[in-house]
């Protein structure tokens, strides 16, 4: 997994939802395990201390009640060894439970039962500050595990020490610790995995909602988010989304019905008037009214063109322009348009330089045709004669970029800021002022842009760019 990939995992809500409970769970269970460990360790020590105290008392009794004869030493030694064997299982050296017993008598030589050499034990005992009858810890040099030692003083000045190193107990404790840590780690990992999977699966429904909604254009408002059968928060979210989409679809549909009926209601009379004028033209045998009737027909044609564009803009402003997308060879489309406009440009002594790289886009060809024709119309209508027009098409950063440059007077500065607004046109303009607004609407409906710049060295540049493929918001 690359670090970028890991980072993208970490930025997901599923990761966050799974991590925080896991951290809390890890801390909580660690505390629980620690408390359990402390209780068990205390219990083990208590048990060994109890044994130690009992034995020490017995040995002290034995030592007190046994007459000081020649057998005394042997007897005490045997009792001590017996006690030692009671707790010392088979084993060697420091790997087994170790018990020592020291009987110090002011008058006699000490009795030692335990590992040899005893010197370090005696030194350690001497250095320790022991209270009679209370077990205490004693560190003996050379022994890794400390001893618990209990001390009984006899009234005659002698003293009995009994020491015990509970290796078995501490082994048990470390085994317990190891398995506790293992169990803890396993539960934490498992807990995180389960939490992550559950969160991921739950949130993948949110991801599906996002994908569905972002894939949805105005063209296919009929799509709906999967709602799921349950009634949890996400299903409610999906249902809310779907209700919202219903409403959007209904308003877009309303708008389309409205614009269609406006178009129908306005175009029907235009069509019949145009028809009457046309037949008048064919009956006008002497051509007396020909000029005027023809002007009227042309006026009607301009009117319906303007009507179309106005309604398109009304839909585009509501984000409801109807697109009939297909794969479009943009270079071919532009070549055709340039061929069409070439003679008109020649007539104005415009020199046209076309540089078209092969670029395909997923777009509505008829809207693109009209938009680019609008831009070329602009050049034909406004560029003074004997100028150059350069038309280029290339792919750049996933966009198809069309640049139309000229070395004319450029866009009037006052006009430029409002150039894409409706009914904005220059003083000299013969158009209806909808052209650039329409071009911008087409660009935006395809997720693209259009802008006007000054050309370095004088003139205007119009840059029209369209994304080459559908960009999903979710993945952007």
């Amino acid at each position: 997994m690359s670090s970028e990939n890991r980072d993208s995992y970490r930025s997901t809500a599923a990761w966050r939802i799974a991590s925080w409970p896991t951290v809390a769970f890890a801390i909580g269970s660690a505390i629980a395990f620690a408390i359990m460990y402390l209780l068990i360790a205390r219990d083990i020590r208590q048990r060994s201390d109890e044994w130690l105290s009992g034995e020490a008392e017995t040995l002290a009794d034995v030592s007190a009640n046994t007459p000081r004869d020649s057998l005394y030493k042997r007897l005490v030694q045997e009792v001590a060894e017996l006690a030692t064997h009671e707790v010392a299982p088979a084993g060697q050296g420091q790997q087994q439970n170790t018990v020592f017993f020291l009987h110090a008598d002011p008058g006699a030589s000490p009795i030692w039962v335990g590992p040899q050499p005893r010197g370090q034990f005696v030194e350690a005992i001497k250095g320790a500050n022991l209270v009679p009858g209370i077990p205490a810890s004693l560190k003996v040099p050379g022994w890794s595990k400390s001893f618990r030692v209990v001390y009984h003083a006899r009234p005659d000045g002698g003293s009995v020490y009994l020491g015990f190193s509970d290796v078995a107990g501490s082994k048990m404790l470390s085994r317990l610790t190891a398995s506790c840590v293992l169990a803890w780690a396993a539960t934490v990992v498992l807990g995180f995995a389960i939490a992550w999977i559950v969160a991921h699966r739950t949130l993948s429904r949110v991801v599906r909602i996002t994908e569905t909604v972002s894939e949805m254009g105005t063209a296919d408002l009929g799509k709906r988010v999967p709602e799921g059968s349950s009634s949890d928060e996400i299903s409610r979210l999906a249902r809310t989304f779907n209700r919202m989409l219903d409403r959007i679809q209904a308003s877009v549909h309303q708008l389309h019905v409205l614009t269609d009926s406006v178009a129908h209601d306005l175009k029907s009379p235009v069509t019949s008037v145009r028809g009457s004028l046309e037949s008048a033209l064919s009956y006008d045998e002497h051509g007396r009214w020909r000029e005027r009737v023809a002007e009227a027909v042309e006026g009607l044609d301009r009117l319906s063109l303007m009507l179309n564009t106005t309604l398109d803009l009304a839909e585009a402003n509501a984000g409801a322009l109807r697109l009939q997308k297909e794969s479009v060879d943009l270079a071919e489309l532009m070549r055709q348009l340039i061929d069409l406009y070439q003679p008109a440009m020649d007539l104005n002594h415009h020199q046209v330089i076309a540089n078209l790289k092969p670029v395909k886009v997923d777009a509505d060809p008829s809207l693109l045709n009209r938009a680019i024709a609008n831009l070329l119309d602009n050049e034909v209508a406004h560029l003074p004669s004997d100028r150059h027009i350069s038309v280029s098409l290339r792919a750049k950063n996933g966009d198809a970029v069309i640049r139309i440059e000229d070395d004319g007077p450029g866009f009037p500065r006052a006009l430029r800021e409002h150039a894409f607004e409706r009914f904005v046109k220059g003083d000299q303009s013969i158009g209806h002022g909808l052209g650039l607004a329409f071009v911008e609407a087409v660009a935006q409906a395809h997720g693209g842009t259009v802008r006007i710049d000054d050309r370095p060295g004088g003139g205007a540049v119009i840059v029209f760019s369209l994304p080459m493929s559908e960009v999903l918001i979710a993945k952007a």
Binding site: S268, N308, R322, Q324, Q336, A344, D377, A381
Partner: protein, 225 residues
């Protein structure tokens, strides 16, 4: 040829009826889908002209009904909508055609002729077109006038071919854009006129009888006189 025109607007219906009858068609008219279905049940039609926005039924649904009832004659759809949706384009592939309002009668007649021809038996594709002393060789893509070869660009030849195929009939700018350049746009400038102007310079200049004529307010026609 017997046609059924289904259109709810009285004025359009009347001017269509008149225009079509003048062109030699027999025309029945209906103002809604119900009437149209009844008329179609009584008579046999060679073609239908149907408006999309009928008061009682969507024009496309009417076409589907007619097809379901076994009427296979071609349909010319009239639409006031700006964008032509997929269903209409689907019909175009199925051999029908559409026209957006407002339209020129000349264009309606031209499209209708094309539609009705499609239904008729095999036609030998012309190899040569001739208008007076202008001759087009469609195989060699060569145009001659009075035995002089005209230097035409591919575009100009295509335009001239389209005019000659419709010799004697008026073609509109919209028709030229659609048929020669394969685009349905409405240029705000006179690009089509300039194309014609240039073509006329090559075809007619220096000859006594001009062949390409402008019919103001309608379009262009190529004819012998």
């Amino acid at each position: 040829m017997r046609l059924l025109v289904v259109e709810d607007d009285n004025a359009i219906r009347e001017f269509l009826k008149r225009g079509l009858e003048e062109s030699g068609y027999q025309v029945d008219v209906g103002r809604d889908a119900t009437t149209a279905l009844a008329q179609a049940a009584d008579s046999v039609y060679d073609g239908f002209i149907i408006d999309l926005g009928l008061p009682d039924m969507d024009g496309l649904d009417l076409i589907a009904k007619l097809r379901a009832l076994g009427h296979s004659a071609p349909v010319l759809i009239l639409s006031a909508r700006r964008s032509v949706d997929e269903r209409v384009r689907g019909l175009e592939q199925g051999g029908d055609d559409y026209l957006t309002k407002p339209f020129a009668l000349a264009e309606l007649l031209a499209r209708l002729r094309n539609l009705l021809r499609r239904g008729s038996p095999v036609q030998t594709e012309a190899v040569r077109l001739r208008v007076r002393d202008l001759e087009l060789d469609l195989v060699r893509r060569e145009a001659r006038r009075a035995d002089t070869v005209l230097q035409l660009t591919t575009q100009e030849f295509g335009l001239l071919e389209y005019l000659c195929r419709n010799a004697g009939r008026v073609v509109t700018r919209t028709m030229i854009l659609d048929q020669v350049w394969r685009m349905r746009i409405d240029p705000a400038t006179n690009v089509v006129d300039v194309q014609i102007y240039r073509l006329r310079n090559k075809v007619d200049s220096g000859f006594e009888h001009p062949l390409i004529h402008t019919i103001r307010g309608v379009g262009y026609v190529i004819r012998e006189s």
